[in-house]
């Protein structure tokens, strides 16, 4: 294929004549070696002076100890299926109309449920069932599971009302009395199980010895306010441009500035489909950047702004004098 034969008009934003001018010796391997050493010095100095952050992870144990009321308030929503995870939709469950969409475009729905989570079973009943020698607890669970859906709902609704006024007395949960049947005992036991650390282990292991999938404990943590409040204190929340940030005063991910900016502007900042909308915008802009050489006006900006005159000023000076 020879483009020289094609009758194509020269476009200075697309084409350039091949260089027929002078060459100078240039040792690219030596340059690379010097650069390798220079960057080594830079990273050693930065690592020595600034180190790197390592805020310890939080556990369900820590959460339930620091704020047992918030833990219990979250746990009841896991049992009655009203928590963030329980109503999330795909990929965790098939909650109708939960998946984000843009018009007919609803990819989460199309891909479906592939990380199935039943919060009542997986976060509450299942872990409690693993506890040995707890006859009263097992009886409470039997009563709850044996009751009708309407009865279960009546109990959980009553408990949610009561736990809104719960108090934390030296780390122990105190919930005002109410007609919530076995649910009070169930949630109280789960809170106590969390405070021993047993819930962290049970949710992670899922009955196996080895596991590296933290989906369940992370989703449970994220449903509560403790993780979120710690993040807010570190300026990491979405509305705080958190995606760019790191804990403390460390630099974060400045390259995510455009991605996170869209979440702050209308209509995305109030949209329930914000994530999909922002992804769509960023995909479009990314494709645009890849194909920039084909886009008129945008590809002319370098020629119009003439920054190149500074970059190649020696070349233009030499041209002018010859």
């Amino acid at each position: 294929m020879s483009s020289v034969k094609k009758a194509r008009r020269f476009n200075p934003d697309r084409d350039v004549a091949p260089w027929k001018g002078a060459y100078v010796p240039y040792d690219i391997l030596k340059e690379a070696f010097v650069a390798l050493l220079a960057v080594a010095v830079l990273i050693v100095v930065m690592a020595a002076v600034f180190s790197s952050p390592d805020d310890p992870s939080i556990t369900l144990k820590k959460w339930s100890a620091v704020n047992p009321v918030d833990f219990a308030q979250t746990a009841i929503t896991e049992l009655d299926g009203s928590s963030g995870t329980a109503t999330y939709g795909p990929p965790y469950n098939a909650t109708p109309d939960a998946a984000q969409h843009m018009g007919f475009f609803e990819p989460a729905q199309w891909f479906g449920v592939h990380q199935p989570i039943n919060t009542a079973q997986d976060f509450v009943i299942g872990p409690l069932r693993t506890l040995p020698n707890q006859q009263l607890l097992q009886r409470a669970l039997d009563v709850y599971q044996g009751a009708s859906a309407a009865q279960q709902s009546a109990w959980t609704t009553a408990y949610e009302k009561a736990v809104a006024n719960a108090t934390d007395v030296q780390g122990r949960l105190h919930v005002p009395a109410g007609r919530y049947g076995p649910v009070g005992y169930i949630i109280g036991s789960l809170t106590a199980m969390a405070q021993t650390g047993g819930l962290d282990g049970t949710l992670l292991s899922e009955g196996q010895f080895y596991n590296t999938d933290y989906t369940k404990p992370l989703l449970f943590l994220a449903d509560g306010s403790y993780l979120e409040s710690l993040a807010g204190a570190q300026h990491l929340q979405g509305s705080q441009w958190g995606m760019m940030n790191e804990t403390g005063n460390y630099p974060g991910q400045a390259w995510l500035w455009l991605y996170t900016m869209w979440y702050q502007v209308a209509p995305m900042n109030t949209s329930s489909n914000a994530d999909l909308e922002v992804w769509a915008i960023m995909m479009l802009l990314s494709v645009g950047l890849i194909f920039l050489p084909f886009i008129p006006i945008l590809r002319s900006i370098p020629r119009w702004t003439r920054v190149y005159k500074l970059i190649w000023r020696r070349h233009y000076r030499e041209l002018a004098t010859t």
Binding site: A22, Y23, V24, P25, Y26, A47, A48, V49, F50, S51, P53, Q234, H235, Q240, W241, M244, N245, E246, T247, G248, N249, Y250, P251, G252, A254, W257, Q264, V265, V307, L310, I311, R314
Partner: protein, 58 residues
Amino acid sequence: MVLGALLAALVNLGGTGKYIHWGFIQISVANFIVIILMIVVFILAILLPFPKRKGDRQ
């Protein structure tokens, strides 16, 4: 290793982060410094004279 202990951070970047609020923009001081540095380095890279090579001109 002792070396690791010796090389613990000389400047503590932990603690409460400092942030700049400008209209709807919120940016950490750290990120702001990084971005300013990038712009400064870019400008310097363009403006600073590059050493001339006394080489064969082919």
